[in-house]
Symmetry: C2
Protein backbone atom coordinates (compact mmCIF):
# COMPACT_ATOMS: atom_id res chain seq x y z
CA UNK A 1 0.00 0.00 0.00
CA UNK A 2 1.22 3.56 -0.68
CA UNK A 3 2.11 5.75 2.32
CA UNK A 4 -1.19 7.68 2.11
CA UNK A 5 -3.15 4.41 2.34
CA UNK A 6 -4.70 5.08 5.75
CA UNK A 7 -5.75 8.57 4.65
CA UNK A 8 -7.39 7.12 1.51
CA UNK A 9 -9.10 4.50 3.66
CA UNK A 10 -10.44 7.18 6.00
CA UNK A 11 -11.78 9.22 3.07
CA UNK A 12 -13.39 6.11 1.56
CA UNK A 13 -15.13 5.23 4.84
CA UNK A 14 -16.43 8.78 5.17
CA UNK A 15 -17.66 8.81 1.58
CA UNK A 16 -19.19 5.34 1.96
CA UNK A 17 -21.06 6.35 5.13
CA UNK A 18 -22.70 9.26 3.28
CA UNK A 19 -23.51 7.11 0.24
CA UNK A 20 -24.93 4.13 2.18
CA UNK A 21 -26.89 6.39 4.53
CA UNK A 22 -28.53 8.06 1.54
CA UNK A 23 -29.00 5.15 -0.86
CA UNK A 24 -28.70 1.94 1.16
CA UNK A 25 -26.63 -1.07 0.14
CA UNK A 26 -28.36 -1.91 -3.16
CA UNK A 27 -28.70 1.70 -4.26
CA UNK A 28 -25.16 2.76 -3.37
CA UNK A 29 -22.73 3.23 -6.25
CA UNK A 30 -19.16 2.15 -5.71
CA UNK A 31 -17.89 4.60 -8.32
CA UNK A 32 -19.65 7.49 -6.55
CA UNK A 33 -18.08 6.44 -3.23
CA UNK A 34 -14.66 6.37 -4.90
CA UNK A 35 -15.19 9.65 -6.73
CA UNK A 36 -16.32 11.51 -3.60
CA UNK A 37 -13.29 10.15 -1.75
CA UNK A 38 -10.95 11.23 -4.59
CA UNK A 39 -9.94 7.61 -4.93
CA UNK A 40 -10.57 4.85 -7.45
CA UNK A 41 -12.79 1.80 -7.29
CA UNK A 42 -9.82 -0.53 -7.03
CA UNK A 43 -8.87 1.12 -3.74
CA UNK A 44 -12.26 0.10 -2.35
CA UNK A 45 -11.84 -3.54 -3.30
CA UNK A 46 -8.22 -3.54 -2.07
CA UNK A 47 -9.15 -2.08 1.31
CA UNK A 48 -12.55 -3.56 1.98
CA UNK A 49 -13.19 -6.50 -0.34
CA UNK A 50 -16.67 -5.77 -1.70
CA UNK A 51 -19.51 -3.28 -1.52
CA UNK A 52 -21.30 -5.58 0.95
CA UNK A 53 -18.24 -5.80 3.18
CA UNK A 54 -17.77 -2.04 2.99
CA UNK A 55 -21.38 -1.53 4.16
CA UNK A 56 -20.87 -3.88 7.11
CA UNK A 57 -17.63 -2.12 7.99
CA UNK A 58 -19.30 1.31 7.90
CA UNK A 59 -22.22 0.12 10.05
CA UNK A 60 -19.88 -1.66 12.50
CA UNK A 61 -17.72 1.47 12.82
CA UNK A 62 -20.80 3.60 13.52
CA UNK A 63 -22.19 1.14 16.06
CA UNK A 64 -18.81 0.93 17.79
CA UNK A 65 -18.62 4.74 17.91
CA UNK A 66 -22.03 4.74 19.63
CA UNK A 67 -20.98 2.11 22.17
CA UNK A 68 -17.72 3.97 22.86
CA UNK A 69 -19.45 7.32 23.25
CA UNK A 70 -22.44 5.99 25.17
CA UNK A 71 -21.53 3.11 27.50
CA UNK A 72 -24.56 1.23 28.80
CA UNK A 73 -25.25 2.28 32.38
CA UNK A 74 -27.99 0.03 33.82
CA UNK A 75 -27.87 1.99 37.08
CA UNK A 76 -28.64 5.23 35.22
CA UNK A 77 -31.02 4.40 32.36
CA UNK A 78 -32.18 8.02 32.11
CA UNK A 79 -28.60 9.24 31.68
CA UNK A 80 -28.00 6.50 29.11
CA UNK A 81 -31.06 7.67 27.17
CA UNK A 82 -29.88 11.28 27.27
CA UNK A 83 -26.37 10.39 26.09
CA UNK A 84 -27.88 8.23 23.32
CA UNK A 85 -30.08 11.16 22.27
CA UNK A 86 -26.97 13.38 22.04
CA UNK A 87 -24.93 10.92 20.00
CA UNK A 88 -27.75 10.06 17.59
CA UNK A 89 -28.67 13.70 17.10
CA UNK A 90 -25.06 14.40 16.16
CA UNK A 91 -24.84 11.28 13.97
CA UNK A 92 -28.24 10.85 12.27
CA UNK A 93 -26.68 8.61 9.61
CA UNK A 94 -26.48 5.76 12.14
CA UNK A 95 -30.27 5.45 12.31
CA UNK A 96 -30.55 5.48 8.51
CA UNK A 97 -27.78 2.86 8.14
CA UNK A 98 -29.53 0.68 10.73
CA UNK A 99 -32.89 0.98 8.98
CA UNK A 100 -31.36 0.13 5.60
CA UNK A 101 -29.62 -2.89 7.13
CA UNK A 102 -32.88 -4.11 8.64
CA UNK A 103 -35.00 -3.54 5.51
CA UNK A 104 -32.50 -4.87 2.97
CA UNK A 105 -31.50 -7.85 5.06
CA UNK A 106 -35.02 -9.23 4.94
CA UNK A 107 -36.95 -10.40 7.94
CA UNK A 108 -35.38 -13.14 10.01
CA UNK A 109 -37.62 -16.03 10.84
CA UNK A 110 -35.85 -16.75 14.10
CA UNK A 111 -35.63 -13.79 16.45
CA UNK A 112 -33.65 -15.70 19.10
CA UNK A 113 -30.20 -14.50 17.93
CA UNK A 114 -31.40 -10.89 18.23
CA UNK A 115 -32.77 -11.58 21.71
CA UNK A 116 -29.47 -13.24 22.64
CA UNK A 117 -27.59 -10.10 21.62
CA UNK A 118 -29.66 -8.18 24.18
CA UNK A 119 -29.20 -10.76 26.94
CA UNK A 120 -26.34 -9.06 28.80
CA UNK A 121 -28.18 -5.73 28.96
CA UNK A 122 -31.38 -7.45 30.07
CA UNK A 123 -29.52 -9.27 32.86
CA UNK A 124 -27.97 -6.00 33.99
CA UNK A 125 -31.42 -4.38 34.16
CA UNK A 126 -32.74 -7.38 36.11
CA UNK A 127 -29.88 -6.90 38.60
CA UNK A 128 -30.94 -3.29 39.09
CA UNK A 129 -34.52 -4.45 39.63
CA UNK A 130 -33.38 -6.88 42.33
CA UNK A 131 -31.36 -4.07 43.92
CA UNK A 132 -34.52 -1.94 44.01
CA UNK A 133 -33.34 0.86 41.74
CA UNK A 134 -35.51 0.00 38.71
CA UNK A 135 -39.24 -0.78 38.61
CA UNK A 136 -39.46 -4.56 38.98
CA UNK A 137 -43.07 -4.79 37.76
CA UNK A 138 -41.88 -4.39 34.14
CA UNK A 139 -40.13 -7.17 32.21
CA UNK A 140 -36.44 -6.19 31.91
CA UNK A 141 -36.45 -6.74 28.13
CA UNK A 142 -39.47 -4.44 27.87
CA UNK A 143 -37.57 -1.83 29.91
CA UNK A 144 -34.79 -1.91 27.31
CA UNK A 145 -37.30 -1.51 24.48
CA UNK A 146 -38.92 1.48 26.20
CA UNK A 147 -35.55 3.11 26.88
CA UNK A 148 -34.39 2.65 23.30
CA UNK A 149 -37.72 3.80 21.83
CA UNK A 150 -37.57 7.00 23.88
CA UNK A 151 -33.86 7.53 23.15
CA UNK A 152 -34.50 7.30 19.41
CA UNK A 153 -37.92 9.01 19.29
CA UNK A 154 -36.50 12.09 17.53
CA UNK A 155 -33.83 10.40 15.41
CA UNK A 156 -35.63 7.25 14.25
CA UNK A 157 -39.38 7.36 14.84
CA UNK A 158 -40.12 10.99 14.04
CA UNK A 159 -38.04 11.08 10.82
CA UNK A 160 -39.28 7.71 9.56
CA UNK A 161 -42.96 8.13 10.40
CA UNK A 162 -43.55 11.87 10.67
CA UNK A 163 -40.90 13.37 8.38
CA UNK A 164 -39.08 15.60 10.83
CA UNK A 165 -36.17 15.30 13.25
CA UNK A 166 -35.26 17.01 16.52
CA UNK A 167 -35.89 20.77 16.66
CA UNK A 168 -32.46 22.46 16.65
CA UNK A 169 -33.93 25.40 18.62
CA UNK A 170 -35.30 23.08 21.33
CA UNK A 171 -32.65 20.35 21.53
CA UNK A 172 -32.09 20.86 25.26
CA UNK A 173 -35.82 20.69 25.96
CA UNK A 174 -36.31 17.56 23.85
CA UNK A 175 -33.26 15.89 25.42
CA UNK A 176 -34.52 16.74 28.91
CA UNK A 177 -37.89 15.22 28.04
CA UNK A 178 -36.27 11.96 26.95
CA UNK A 179 -34.29 11.83 30.20
CA UNK A 180 -37.27 12.64 32.44
CA UNK A 181 -39.53 10.22 30.54
CA UNK A 182 -37.13 7.32 31.04
CA UNK A 183 -36.70 8.29 34.69
CA UNK A 184 -40.47 8.35 35.24
CA UNK A 185 -41.12 5.06 33.45
CA UNK A 186 -38.34 3.06 35.05
CA UNK A 187 -38.30 4.40 38.61
CA UNK A 188 -39.45 1.90 41.23
CA UNK A 189 -43.10 2.48 42.14
CA UNK A 190 -42.25 3.49 45.74
CA UNK A 191 -39.76 6.11 44.54
CA UNK A 192 -42.20 7.50 41.98
CA UNK A 193 -44.86 7.86 44.68
CA UNK A 194 -42.49 9.51 47.14
CA UNK A 195 -41.00 11.98 44.67
CA UNK A 196 -44.21 13.14 43.07
CA UNK A 197 -46.16 13.82 46.28
CA UNK B 1 -62.14 -3.75 -17.97
CA UNK B 2 -63.26 -7.36 -17.71
CA UNK B 3 -65.83 -8.29 -15.05
CA UNK B 4 -63.17 -9.70 -12.71
CA UNK B 5 -61.28 -6.41 -12.79
CA UNK B 6 -61.87 -5.41 -9.18
CA UNK B 7 -60.85 -8.87 -7.98
CA UNK B 8 -57.63 -8.67 -10.02
CA UNK B 9 -57.00 -5.21 -8.60
CA UNK B 10 -57.46 -6.50 -5.05
CA UNK B 11 -55.04 -9.36 -5.66
CA UNK B 12 -52.50 -6.99 -7.23
CA UNK B 13 -52.65 -4.64 -4.23
CA UNK B 14 -52.18 -7.54 -1.83
CA UNK B 15 -49.26 -8.90 -3.83
CA UNK B 16 -47.74 -5.42 -4.17
CA UNK B 17 -47.96 -4.79 -0.40
CA UNK B 18 -46.00 -7.97 0.28
CA UNK B 19 -43.43 -7.19 -2.43
CA UNK B 20 -42.88 -3.52 -1.46
CA UNK B 21 -42.77 -4.35 2.25
CA UNK B 22 -40.04 -6.89 1.59
CA UNK B 23 -37.98 -5.19 -1.13
CA UNK B 24 -38.90 -1.49 -1.12
CA UNK B 25 -39.73 0.54 -4.22
CA UNK B 26 -36.42 0.18 -6.09
CA UNK B 27 -36.00 -3.51 -5.25
CA UNK B 28 -39.58 -4.53 -6.03
CA UNK B 29 -40.12 -6.45 -9.26
CA UNK B 30 -43.28 -5.70 -11.20
CA UNK B 31 -43.28 -9.15 -12.81
CA UNK B 32 -43.10 -10.79 -9.37
CA UNK B 33 -46.04 -8.67 -8.16
CA UNK B 34 -48.03 -9.71 -11.23
CA UNK B 35 -47.01 -13.38 -10.97
CA UNK B 36 -47.97 -13.62 -7.28
CA UNK B 37 -51.33 -12.00 -8.08
CA UNK B 38 -51.92 -14.45 -10.95
CA UNK B 39 -52.13 -11.43 -13.27
CA UNK B 40 -49.91 -9.91 -15.91
CA UNK B 41 -47.76 -6.80 -15.87
CA UNK B 42 -50.10 -4.97 -18.22
CA UNK B 43 -52.86 -5.22 -15.58
CA UNK B 44 -50.60 -3.30 -13.18
CA UNK B 45 -50.00 -0.46 -15.61
CA UNK B 46 -53.70 -0.41 -16.61
CA UNK B 47 -54.90 -0.23 -13.00
CA UNK B 48 -52.20 1.82 -11.30
CA UNK B 49 -50.07 3.58 -13.91
CA UNK B 50 -46.52 2.80 -12.79
CA UNK B 51 -44.54 0.97 -10.12
CA UNK B 52 -44.06 4.29 -8.28
CA UNK B 53 -47.77 5.01 -8.34
CA UNK B 54 -48.55 1.49 -7.17
CA UNK B 55 -46.20 1.96 -4.21
CA UNK B 56 -47.88 5.24 -3.25
CA UNK B 57 -51.30 3.60 -3.58
CA UNK B 58 -50.28 0.68 -1.35
CA UNK B 59 -48.81 3.00 1.29
CA UNK B 60 -51.85 5.30 1.14
CA UNK B 61 -54.22 2.35 1.53
CA UNK B 62 -52.29 1.09 4.55
CA UNK B 63 -52.17 4.53 6.16
CA UNK B 64 -55.88 5.02 5.55
CA UNK B 65 -56.59 1.62 7.12
CA UNK B 66 -54.64 2.73 10.20
CA UNK B 67 -56.52 6.02 10.45
CA UNK B 68 -59.86 4.21 9.99
CA UNK B 69 -59.05 1.55 12.58
CA UNK B 70 -57.41 3.93 15.04
CA UNK B 71 -59.02 7.37 15.11
CA UNK B 72 -56.94 9.98 16.90
CA UNK B 73 -58.38 10.58 20.37
CA UNK B 74 -56.57 13.52 21.97
CA UNK B 75 -58.65 13.08 25.12
CA UNK B 76 -57.41 9.49 25.48
CA UNK B 77 -53.82 9.37 24.29
CA UNK B 78 -53.16 6.14 26.19
CA UNK B 79 -56.08 4.41 24.47
CA UNK B 80 -54.88 5.75 21.12
CA UNK B 81 -51.43 4.28 21.78
CA UNK B 82 -52.94 0.91 22.71
CA UNK B 83 -55.13 0.80 19.60
CA UNK B 84 -52.13 1.80 17.47
CA UNK B 85 -50.10 -1.01 19.06
CA UNK B 86 -52.87 -3.48 18.15
CA UNK B 87 -53.17 -2.36 14.55
CA UNK B 88 -49.42 -2.22 13.91
CA UNK B 89 -48.86 -5.60 15.51
CA UNK B 90 -51.48 -7.05 13.18
CA UNK B 91 -50.09 -5.16 10.16
CA UNK B 92 -46.31 -5.04 10.54
CA UNK B 93 -45.92 -4.31 6.82
CA UNK B 94 -47.06 -0.71 7.43
CA UNK B 95 -43.94 0.10 9.43
CA UNK B 96 -41.69 -1.45 6.77
CA UNK B 97 -43.48 0.42 3.96
CA UNK B 98 -43.12 3.67 5.90
CA UNK B 99 -39.43 3.10 6.50
CA UNK B 100 -38.80 2.29 2.83
CA UNK B 101 -40.69 5.43 1.83
CA UNK B 102 -38.60 7.56 4.16
CA UNK B 103 -35.24 6.03 3.20
CA UNK B 104 -35.83 5.87 -0.56
CA UNK B 105 -37.40 9.29 -0.74
CA UNK B 106 -34.21 10.95 0.46
CA UNK B 107 -34.03 13.48 3.22
CA UNK B 108 -36.09 16.60 2.81
CA UNK B 109 -34.30 19.85 3.42
CA UNK B 110 -37.41 21.62 4.60
CA UNK B 111 -39.24 19.88 7.45
CA UNK B 112 -42.05 22.43 7.58
CA UNK B 113 -44.48 20.44 5.37
CA UNK B 114 -44.10 17.46 7.72
CA UNK B 115 -44.70 19.67 10.74
CA UNK B 116 -47.76 21.15 9.02
CA UNK B 117 -49.20 17.65 8.54
CA UNK B 118 -49.04 17.23 12.34
CA UNK B 119 -50.56 20.63 13.08
CA UNK B 120 -54.17 19.50 13.64
CA UNK B 121 -53.13 16.77 16.11
CA UNK B 122 -50.81 19.19 17.92
CA UNK B 123 -53.63 21.76 18.26
CA UNK B 124 -55.94 19.07 19.62
CA UNK B 125 -53.34 18.09 22.23
CA UNK B 126 -52.88 21.77 23.15
CA UNK B 127 -56.66 22.00 23.66
CA UNK B 128 -56.48 19.06 26.09
CA UNK B 129 -53.62 20.77 27.91
CA UNK B 130 -55.69 23.95 28.32
CA UNK B 131 -58.58 21.80 29.57
CA UNK B 132 -56.26 20.29 32.18
CA UNK B 133 -56.39 16.69 31.01
CA UNK B 134 -52.85 16.48 29.58
CA UNK B 135 -49.56 17.63 31.16
CA UNK B 136 -49.09 21.22 30.00
CA UNK B 137 -45.41 21.37 30.89
CA UNK B 138 -44.54 19.38 27.74
CA UNK B 139 -44.63 20.89 24.25
CA UNK B 140 -47.69 19.41 22.48
CA UNK B 141 -45.63 18.37 19.45
CA UNK B 142 -43.24 16.56 21.79
CA UNK B 143 -46.22 14.80 23.37
CA UNK B 144 -47.18 13.47 19.94
CA UNK B 145 -43.61 12.24 19.32
CA UNK B 146 -43.54 10.45 22.69
CA UNK B 147 -46.94 8.84 22.07
CA UNK B 148 -45.95 7.64 18.62
CA UNK B 149 -42.52 6.43 19.75
CA UNK B 150 -44.13 4.35 22.51
CA UNK B 151 -46.93 3.11 20.21
CA UNK B 152 -44.37 1.86 17.69
CA UNK B 153 -41.66 0.70 20.11
CA UNK B 154 -42.30 -2.97 19.32
CA UNK B 155 -43.19 -2.67 15.64
CA UNK B 156 -40.69 -0.06 14.43
CA UNK B 157 -37.87 0.55 16.89
CA UNK B 158 -37.28 -2.98 18.19
CA UNK B 159 -37.33 -4.63 14.73
CA UNK B 160 -35.20 -1.93 13.06
CA UNK B 161 -32.60 -1.53 15.81
CA UNK B 162 -32.72 -4.72 17.84
CA UNK B 163 -33.92 -7.34 15.36
CA UNK B 164 -37.03 -8.58 17.13
CA UNK B 165 -40.71 -7.68 17.28
CA UNK B 166 -43.41 -8.00 19.92
CA UNK B 167 -43.43 -11.24 21.89
CA UNK B 168 -46.52 -13.22 20.76
CA UNK B 169 -46.69 -14.88 24.21
CA UNK B 170 -46.69 -11.52 25.99
CA UNK B 171 -48.68 -9.30 23.63
CA UNK B 172 -51.20 -8.30 26.32
CA UNK B 173 -48.43 -7.40 28.74
CA UNK B 174 -46.51 -5.37 26.15
CA UNK B 175 -49.68 -3.59 25.03
CA UNK B 176 -50.58 -2.78 28.63
CA UNK B 177 -47.10 -1.34 29.15
CA UNK B 178 -47.50 0.97 26.13
CA UNK B 179 -50.84 2.16 27.47
CA UNK B 180 -49.63 2.71 31.02
CA UNK B 181 -46.43 4.40 29.81
CA UNK B 182 -48.35 6.93 27.73
CA UNK B 183 -50.76 7.49 30.61
CA UNK B 184 -47.89 8.13 33.05
CA UNK B 185 -45.99 10.45 30.71
CA UNK B 186 -48.92 12.57 29.60
CA UNK B 187 -51.01 12.82 32.78
CA UNK B 188 -51.11 16.31 34.31
CA UNK B 189 -48.59 16.66 37.14
CA UNK B 190 -51.32 17.17 39.76
CA UNK B 191 -53.12 14.01 38.67
CA UNK B 192 -49.90 11.98 38.63
CA UNK B 193 -49.10 13.11 42.18
CA UNK B 194 -52.60 12.37 43.47
CA UNK B 195 -52.88 8.96 41.84
CA UNK B 196 -49.45 7.65 42.78
CA UNK B 197 -49.52 8.54 46.49
Amino acid sequence: MPPDSSETKRRLLESAAAEFSRYGLAGARVDRIAHNAQANKQAIYAHFGSKDQLFERVLDDHLRALVDAVPFTPGDLAGYAGASFDHLTEHPELMRLSMWRYLEHGEEEDQQPALDRMAAKVRAVADQQRAGSVDDTIDPLDIMVLVIALSTAWTLTAPALLGFGPDPRRLDEQRALVVSSVARLTAPAAFAAASSG
